[in-house]
Amino acid sequence: MPEKISISRYSGRRRKNVVATVLALVATAIGMGWLVLILGALLWKGFSGLSVAVFTEMTPPPGSAGGLLNPIFGSLVLTILAVAIGTPIGILAGTYMAEYGRYDRLSTVVRFINDILLSAPSIVVGLFIYEVMVAPMGHFSGWAGGVALAVLVIPVVVRTTEDMLTLVPNALREAATSIGLPRSLSITRICYRAARAGMVTGVLLAVARISGETAPLLFTSLNNQFWSTDLNAPISSLPVVIFQFALSPYKDWQSLAWTGALIITLAVLALSITARALVPSGKQS
């Protein structure tokens, strides 16, 4: 009876479909579950150590109470430095690729290289800055740390600037040209304004990316137990302090590491959610 055979084959196919559906659900649950587990652990471990002292006191020697004021300050300084160096270069390069040389050879090559830099191992950037800045200067310094982070900022900003400028309708450029605006003004006054939200998003994403970066800072800005505002000397930063404290055998250092981890994660999540909210829904890179 052919009908019976085809029905049994059909139910076999149905069963396979059900199995695949269940597997897909399980996979999604695993993905979500991991996020919940990690955030849950962070909140659980980090909140218990959170207090005013964390933001007002210096990192302690083992065995005594203290806070994270100097690493928080150091991280802020390094981030500002990195954004101040990286953003202009990134925006200019992205502008060239979207406005002047959208289809030329140089842009194609830069786009390819930039995409590779975007996911290149950050520890290699640390080695690079060590070779070109720390070794010649003879000492670790905040400047080196800031430049190392700037190297990570540039590809993110280049990418978003190019993407966002490409989205600006050509009619706007033509209108600007038709009233006699030179190219540079039509870019800076018209296109930048139209793409502003997206470009700000790029900078925010870059800040989110570098605020947790540890590897490039390990041998550029190093670490500093004490309060220091001297960019010519080693400077403390949150990720490096977390690394050092978490791997130490002291309980109160470990607990401070968790608190630092919570602060970084909340900052990063806030930044990436803001960045996402800024971009009109749909297009995001």
Binding site: L42, I123, V151, S184
Partner: protein, 327 residues
């Protein structure tokens, strides 16, 4: 127009020319500035490569090709070989991809075919938030929570079950340390999952609806459509996404440094501690005394950069191909 009243006609023309000249100059300066910045990105990459090559010359001059094949790593006698680090990097990344790729593909399948539309965006964002969590957070979580958990549950289970199966038994031999290559591989899997998922989802979504509808019209089940239409059509893009994730896994530093155990040896067992290229550099660079030690670590960095560069270049090439096809 008080100004033009006061000026004679030639003076007016002169002022206009001057203004135009100024604008033209500004235009040129801006154009060259942007061009210089674009070239700067290229210089950045060449700078990285040149500085790494320059720094690793002493190591390669001393050890030659043997640097890549030697298992020794002895700072006391100044004797260095990269093999354990290379081995650990490849094994941990392999474990990571083995787990992350199927899960990522299934999540993409769920998001594109099964998920109700209102749930799509929240889940997509949650997956992308996983990508945004800094790697040091994965490290501290892995060290204090995940590793003890594995030591108490999964690892004894593997030793008692797969550890007795002939043929693969050596892979699961030895005591459950908690930290080790398996733990690192699992953490890497969590970290690369978002990359694999979001790119796979994007290429799945780009498959023309007509193709899928045609398959449904023939009576295919959802799974058959994904398996026989979506996946083959999106293959190049999926491979690109997987390679991109692999590039991340190979170069990931902090998360691995916490849980790999930093042992310069090659063990058959994936439960044993090992080391990776990036973990070795992160752990030892600031403590390295002597030019040869430092140079060997920079040579490791060069090696890592070359490997990831090749993997990422393949990934980008694949993704460019699918982008061109989709248009």
């Amino acid at each position: 127009m008080a100004l033009s009243d006061q000026m004679s006609v030639p003076a007016q023309a002169l002022a206009r020319t001057r203004a135009l000249d100024r604008l033209r100059l500004g235009d040129n300066v801006f154009r060259h500035l942007t061009r210089t910045a674009a070239i700067g990105v290229l210089l950045l990459l060449s700078g990285v490569i040149i500085s790494l090559i320059d720094g690793s010359i002493p190591a390669f001059r001393t050890f030659g090709f043997g640097f890549l094949t030697s298992e020794r790593w002895n700072p006391v006698t100044d004797n260095f070989g990269a093999l354990p680090a290379i081995y650990g990097t490849i094994v941990t990344s392999f474990i990571a991809m083995l787990i992350a790729v199927p899960i990522g593909l299934m999540i993409a399948f769920f998001l594109t075919e099964l998920c109700p539309p209102w749930l799509r965006r929240p889940i997509g964002i949650a997956i992308e938030l996983l990508a945004g969590i800094p790697s040091i957070i994965y490290g501290i979580w892995g060290l204090f929570i995940f590793a003890p958990f594995l030591q108490a549950t999964l690892e004894p289970f593997l030793i008692n079950t797969l550890g007795n199966v002939p043929g693969i038994a050596p892979l699961f031999a030895g005591p459950p340390y908690g930290i080790g290559m398996l733990t690192s591989g699992l953490i890497l899997a969590i970290m690369v999952l978002p990359f694999v998922t979001s790119i796979t989802r994007d290429v799945f979504e780009a498959v023309p609806g007509v193709l899928k509808e045609a398959a449904y019209g023939l009576g295919c089940t959802t799974w058959e459509v994904v398996r026989n239409v979506t996946l083959p059509y999106a293959r190049v893009g999926v491979i690109g996404g997987v390679m991109l994730g692999l590039g991340r896994a190979l170069g990931e530093t902090m998360a691995v440094t916490f849980v790999i155990g930093n042992a310069h040896r090659i063990s058959a067992s994936i439960l044993a501690p090992g080391t990776t290229i990036s973990a070795t550099i992160a752990n030892e660079f600031t403590e390295a005394v002597g030019d040869l030690y430092t140079s060997s670590l920079i040579a490791l960095g060069l090696l890592l950069f070359v490997i990831t560069f090749i993997v990422l270049a393949i990934a980008r090439y694949m993704l460019m191909r699918i982008e061109r096809r989709i248009g």
